[in-house]
């Protein structure tokens, strides 16, 4: 029922949507005696001190609420003001009050930050929504910045996040479904999709997987991800996570499903493909030449990020003959003095870069810059002068690190940096052949992966030539008339003839 109301646009009544969850609650009819009711609630809440009991009418009635959860101003405004102004005779007549006779129902209600009013001699309990909400602004997420395009981002409040999506898709087919996950935390989860575009089979699959989660605590979508993804043992993320509403909206319109959770600004997109991680909103706002160029650079960064150190190691430890004569001397002179074999050099450097990166994240930003200087300049320079690492290796590893940060998704970026290690080891033991085998394993793995029954490496494997328009390149938008096939959209057509005016104008000019 709740989501239906939501669909009709009744968006601001948060308590309505939660009603359906109360149907499953056990029933404990309230008694006519006030003291019994209060005692019951106090016992249920283990006599916690922040449960405030405010006596009214000489102790004939009480107002109960969790002090940290409610907004005192709202109590004044919603409950006392109408009484004082004489608009209503009795508290239960206040328009936004709801009443019930089930004490058990009051427990989650109180936990949501509502206040309840009980009177002696009446079993009716009246409750008011006086929750206090603290939100940060919907500012651009730090980890997914773009140059052009919308600069808003999701925040920790589910309702506001849904609001951002609904504002961008004003259509009756946009469906939101709520789930409660986490037996103790009771986290609100929402899935959002376009009915009539998203494949109902995938929606069902997702619902089933969410429902089968049985844990005490769910903290964030990242937590949820491991419970519902197809292959948790794969290093690759199988659901795109993003904090950008425009990215979520674009994916919903492609027939994918967004999954969001209360308390986290991250939305998960299912089903995802590998190449989705390389699409940024920027590509679509820039001219398509630029978009294509930038995307090619990004995809090249994938190869550089995982293959570059391996290639370098293979060349200098196995295949010197690959270097042309002119390059041979500078390379040789740079690595001649180094005490360690190249594979060790590379491992040391990659680990150092990871250390710098990780400490940079954890430290407060002024100190973080210091780490950048100390790590980047001092260590980089000193390590070469000390003869521990050749300067070519520093170049290679630095380039690799930069390339790995090009990916618009932090998830995949970490995966890439992880993939460097096995490739470095393979290259250090088998040379080119090791790299080939490494890449073979990698591509076979990517081809085998599926995200909610949808091939992960689409549209390359399985090949879909039509969808390549938005994979390696970004062709003009009016050429992408169909939605990508990998999401199994029910409606393939995404746009009609949009530039027929060209023909019209030409005809007009002729006349």
């Amino acid at each position: 029922m709740g989501f239906l109301r939501k669909l009709l646009g009744n968006r601001d009544r948060i308590e309505d949507t939660s009603n359906k969850n109360q149907g499953q609650q056990p029933n404990q009819p309230s008694s006519k005696k006030l003291s019994e009711n209060v005692e019951y609630l106090l016992n249920e809440f283990k006599r916690t001190d922040d449960l405030k009991i405010r006596a009214m009418n000489n102790g004939q009635a009480v107002l109960m609420y969790f002090e940290p959860l409610v907004d005192q101003e709202k109590i004044q405004q919603n409950i006392f003001n109408p009484l004082e102004m004489g608009h209503v005779e009795h508290i239960s007549e206040i328009p936004n009050a709801r009443s019930s006779e089930n004490l058990e129902e009051m427990i989650p209600t109180l936990l949501r930050g509502h206040a309840i009013y009980m009177e002696d001699g009446s079993s009716t309990i009246t409750r008011f929504n006086v929750t206090s909400v603290f939100n940060r602004n919907v500012e651009e997420p730090q980890n997914e910045k773009i140059v052009r395009g919308s600069h808003d981002g999701f925040i920790e409040n589910l309702m506001i996040n849904l609001n951002l999506i609904r504002k961008k898709i004003e259509h009756r087919d946009l469906v939101v479904k709520y789930f409660k996950v986490g037996k103790k935390t009771n986290t609100n989860i929402a899935i959002v999709y376009m009915d009539g575009i998203a494949d109902p089979e995938i929606v069902q699959k997702l619902e089933k997987r969410i429902k089968s989660i049985s844990v005490d605590m769910i903290q964030s979508p990242g937590y949820l991800e491991e419970f519902i993804e197809d292959n948790p043992y794969s290093p690759f993320p199988q659901m795109l996570n993003t904090e950008r509403p425009d990215r979520v909206v674009a994916n919903i319109m492609e027939g994918r499903i967004a999954l969001m959770a209360e308390g986290s600004p991250t939305a998960l997109i299912a089903p995802s493909t590998f190449f989705m991680f390389y699409q940024a909103s920027d590509d679509y706002n820039a001219r398509w030449y630029t978009g294509t160029f930038v995307r090619l650079v990004r995809l090249a960064s994938f190869i550089i990020a995982i293959g570059m150190p391996a290639f370098y190691i293979a060349v200098i430890s196995f295949h010197y003959e690959v270097l042309p004569d002119e390059l041979l001397l500078p390379v040789k002179s740079s690595i001649n003095e180094i005490a360690y074999p190249p594979i060790l050099e590379a491992l040391i450097m990659v680990v150092i870069i990871e250390l710098i990166r990780e400490s940079g994240i954890r430290l407060p930003s002024p100190v973080g810059q210091t780490i950048g200087i100390v790590g980047g300049l001092v260590i980089g320079d000193a390590v070469v002068r000390a003869g521990l690492v050749s300067n070519l290796m520093v170049i290679v590893v630095a380039l690799t690190a930069i390339a790995s940060f090009v990916v618009p998704s932090n998830e995949l970026s970490t995966t890439l940096r992880l993939m460097t290690f096995p490739l470095i080891i393979l290259a250090g033991t088998f040379g080119f052949l090791g790299i080939v085998f490494g890449f073979l394993f990698l591509t076979v793995h990517l081809t085998r992966l599926e995200s909610f029954g949808v091939p992960y490496f689409a549209p390359v494997a399985p090949l879909n030539i039509n969808d390549l328009k938005d994979t390696f390149v970004r062709l003009p938008l009016f050429m992408m008339k169909k939605r990508p096939k990998d999401a199994h959209p029910l409606q393939e057509k995404a746009m009609g003839e949009s530039r027929e005016w060209v023909q019209h104008e030409q005809d007009n000019n002729k006349n």
Partner: protein
């Protein structure tokens, strides 16, 4: 409604690439030499003759497969020869497929150790190879098809390398044509047929491909001629790059040819060529692992497929370890498998077809 269930059938494009990737494999490096050793500079004619003759076999394959539209090859065996004899014949085929895989593995590792890694022990390289193949094959034919289609991009790169070498080619080396008459050319056709033996895959997975029989036959032929032309191109390039005398000394002409080029950015193109060639070997070997595994699954009627592939990989991996780099035994084994190839990939297919014909007409007679 559900597109996932429809998708379980292979598209014809995937069928095409499976056949192509299976046929192009280890042989491509030594094919020019092998042809040359029999037919001298007329080797390319042998190749064409072989290609044309094989069409008959492909036609027979299609005729067999058409009669059993929803059975894979091993199930066809049981349908044609009755259950137990069929299972026996399937076992023979499994033995054949695994022996081909062993030869592939032996030749692959031998070449790698000759050209790139002379010190590396045999078992490491073969283990790596078989692991990749096992991982791919156990994903099932759909995953294989996706992968094969994807890596076919590399064929273009390979062709690019070869095209570059054309700049130094001399057509003169192809003359005189038919200097020694037709006999060596026909003998060379024998060598040519060898490099096509992967075509049996078109029979094994025929039932898993969508489309009408005629469409599928066309795909088989397209794939076959793609491979013939691909081979022809590499053979003619190497024949025109090296003179007839040189050719008789060079076992891997393509590699030597690429070795001679020197660019400003990289030297030794042959190493890059070889790296890409590894992928082609892997796809070929994977197909054979798949066929062996599929056969084991069918014959023993197991429900889970992964164990059969693991067993198949194990069967394929272990015997070559005892042969290793022993060239004499590799060659003996190779020759033996070639003969088996003629029996199982050519002769026996005719027998299967005729028996199925007889059975078919008997059943028809019985029914009427």
């Amino acid at each position: 409604m559900s597109k996932t269930t429809i998708k379980t059938k292979l598209s014809r494009r995937q069928y095409f690439f499976i056949i192509v990737q299976t046929e192009i494999g280890v042989g491509i490096l030594s094919l020019p030499y092998d042809l040359h050793s029999q037919a001298k500079q007329d080797g390319w004619i042998s190749l064409l003759i072989g290609g044309v003759l094989l069409q008959i076999v492909l036609l027979v394959i299609w005729l067999i497969a058409k009669r059993y539209p929803d059975k894979d090859f091993f199930q066809i065996n049981e349908a044609v020869f009755s259950k137990w004899i069929g299972k026996g014949i399937s076992l023979l085929y499994i033995a054949y497929f695994s022996m081909v895989s062993m030869v592939l593995l032996l030749l692959f590792v031998r070449l790698i150790s000759l050209w790139v890694l002379p010190q590396t022990p045999f078992w490491i390289l073969s283990l790596l190879m078989i692991l990749v193949c096992l991982y791919l094959a156990s994903g099932g034919i759909n995953v294989m098809a996706r992968f094969y289609t994807f890596v076919s991009v590399l064929l273009i790169v390979l062709l690019g390398f070869v095209v570059y070498s054309l700049k130094d080619s001399q057509i003169v080396f192809l003359f005189p044509i038919l200097n020694d008459g037709w006999v060596p050319v026909i003998k060379g056709a024998n060598e040519a047929v060898l490099s096509f033996f992967g075509f049996i895959i078109s029979l094994v997975i025929y039932s898993k491909v969508e489309g009408s029989p005629a469409q599928r036959l066309r795909t088989i032929f397209y794939a076959h001629w793609f491979v013939v032309l691909f081979y022809l191109f590499t053979v003619i390039t190497s024949f025109t790059f090296f003179s007839t005398v040189e050719m008789s000394f060079i076992q891997e002409p393509l590699l030597y040819m690429l070795k001679s080029f020197d660019f400003t950015i990289v030297a030794r193109l042959d190493l890059f060529f070889l790296s890409i060639w590894v992928v082609n070997v892997a796809t070929t070997l994977t197909t054979y692992v798949y066929m062996t595994g599929l056969g084991l699954t069918d014959v023993f009627g197991t429900k889970k497929t992964t164990p059969s592939y693991i067993i198949a990989a194990f069967i394929i991996l272990v015997p070559p370890l005892f042969i290793g780099y022993n060239m004499e035994r590799v060659d003996q084994f190779n020759n033996f498998v070639v003969w088996m190839g003629y029996i199982f990939s050519v002769a026996f297919l005719f027998i299967i077809y005729f028996i199925s014909l007889i059975r078919g007409s008997l059943q028809k007679g019985g029914a009427s």
